[in-house]
């Protein structure tokens, strides 16, 4: 797209006319938004896949202890950083949702086109975790409170606690028990055993272990509260990291 005028602007002036200015600025704003979205997508995706990816890739990794602990904590980093930038610079309370949306766009393209399209893993095995309701929650708390401190305490608590319930409607069916050759296992385990993954053999599958069965055998609340607690700390840290990456400092060439 190009925006032209017949002759140059008057000497010393940037713009020929108000129309030229408005058309150009609106177009450029949209392009910059796409730039930000694409970069957050790429950066968040490589972060998430290499810190929580195994639990996000596979249905038989989506357990009741490690997955609801690790995934919200890791996802919180970019939600807080993007929220920090969009809130402090533009007063837009959409950062966490935008970050989650960007990540999920990248993940779904990959799971369909590559996990299923190239190496033929069924989507039932490889669908990504839901995150967007958690992003909504974090953004709503920031919008209503106008305070990153309140968002860190209240928003992050909800962020950690919401993760398992929002994924449960899809996950529940895979946690039904099955007895195969005398062994009790879940449907998710069964799918996993049938699709051997060469780089992640069974002996390094990190799923729930331990003996305490708080709240009447269920371990999820303990994992969720622990995840929420760490998410609070992560929020504080990554809000500041987002602020730091928003700096507009210049340095002298001789300094490097």
């Amino acid at each position: 797209m190009s925006i032209s005028t017949e002759a140059g602007a008057p000497a010393g002036k940037t713009w020929k006319s108000k129309e030229e200015f408005l058309g150009c600025v609106l177009l450029t704003d949209w392009i910059l938004l796409v730039v930000l979205f694409a970069v957050v997508l790429g950066s968040f995706h490589i972060h998430y896949m290499l810190l929580a990816g195994d639990w996000d890739f596979w249905i038989d990794f989506k357990d009741r202890r490690m997955w609801p602990t690790v995934a919200p904590i890791v996802a919180m980093c970019f939600a807080a950083a993007v929220q920090s930038f969009l809130w402090q610079k533009f007063r837009l309370p959409i950062g966490a949702t935008v970050a989650c949306l960007a990540l999920l766009v990248g993940e779904w393209i990959n799971r369909y086109d590559n996990f299923w399209g190239w190496t033929f893993f069924p989507i039932n095995l490889v669908f990504p975790s839901a995150l967007i309701p958690m992003g909504f929650w974090l953004d709503v708390v920031l919008m209503m409170s106008g305070s990153w401190l309140v968002t860190a305490l209240v928003g992050s608590m909800g962020w950690g606690l919401l993760f398992y319930p929002i994924n449960w409607p899809v996950l529940a069916q895979y946690h039904q028990s099955a007895e195969i050759d005398g062994v009790l296992l879940t449907l998710a385990d069964l799918i996993g055993f049938n699709y051997v993954r060469t780089g992640t053999p069974e002996y390094i599958r990190m799923v729930e272990r331990g003996t305490l069965r708080t709240f009447g055998k269920d371990v999820v609340p303990v994992a969720a509260f622990f995840s929420a607690f760490i998410s609070m700390l992560i929020y504080f840290l990554w809000w500041k990291i987002g602020t730091w990456f928003s700096n507009t400092k210049y340095i002298e060439a001789e300094d490097i």
Partner: protein, 258 residues
Amino acid sequence: MSLTTEKASGAVRAAESDTIVNYWPAYWTMICLAVFYIGIRIYEQYFGWKAGLDSFAPEFQTYWLNLMWTELPLEFIAFCGIGGYLWKTRDRNIDKVAPREEMRRLLALVGWLAIYAFTVYWGASYFTEQDGTWHQTVIRDTDFTPSHILEFYLSYPIYIIAGWGAFMYARTRIPQFAKKISLPFLLFFAGPFMIFPNIGLNEWGHTFWFMEELFTAPLHWGFVFFGWFALAVFGTACQVLDRVIELSKEYEADVLSL
């Protein structure tokens, strides 16, 4: 697609026109890159299975290693060529840039940033997670797997070249970036660039230490650390927008009324 305020056309009038922004070169670059990436994805679909399973097989040499030995020199030439061209044609009178010309260059930089962001998506998101699924399907016998040849040695160098072009364009043509070095822009380029040397750690670790491909293994965390620096796009965008605002003070009220 073009937005113009001129009514006449023709070579003479076109030559006289004073285009403030033209994003078509950026659009065409991204279209060409998308077509290229879709093409190599189709190549990968076919020759990954047909010739990419055994690195000792002659067909692996033909279809995959030859691809790598072709792409790496071309990427090095492109990196040097773009940097060299932009440096050679730099504005040697950077203090005398007129406001309209500076705005034109700032908007051209936005086009460069769009290309960089587009290539970051393909490298950091598409091809990186794709590599995960290949690792879970095939037991590799080489560092140079089909997915690595396209991920590490094609999509990563391409985003490095795009980022280098954006950085050098700003350094050689836009006063605010030429007189001093923008810290966020430097991080925005240098952080993702460092992912490429980090491949050395990754392959060393997988060769001598940790054969499995647990994606969350600490061996992979170097990629994560350097990927964080892409968030410096925040500061870079702010620096561009700050200057656009400074150069457009006369229309500030019009923007606020939108």
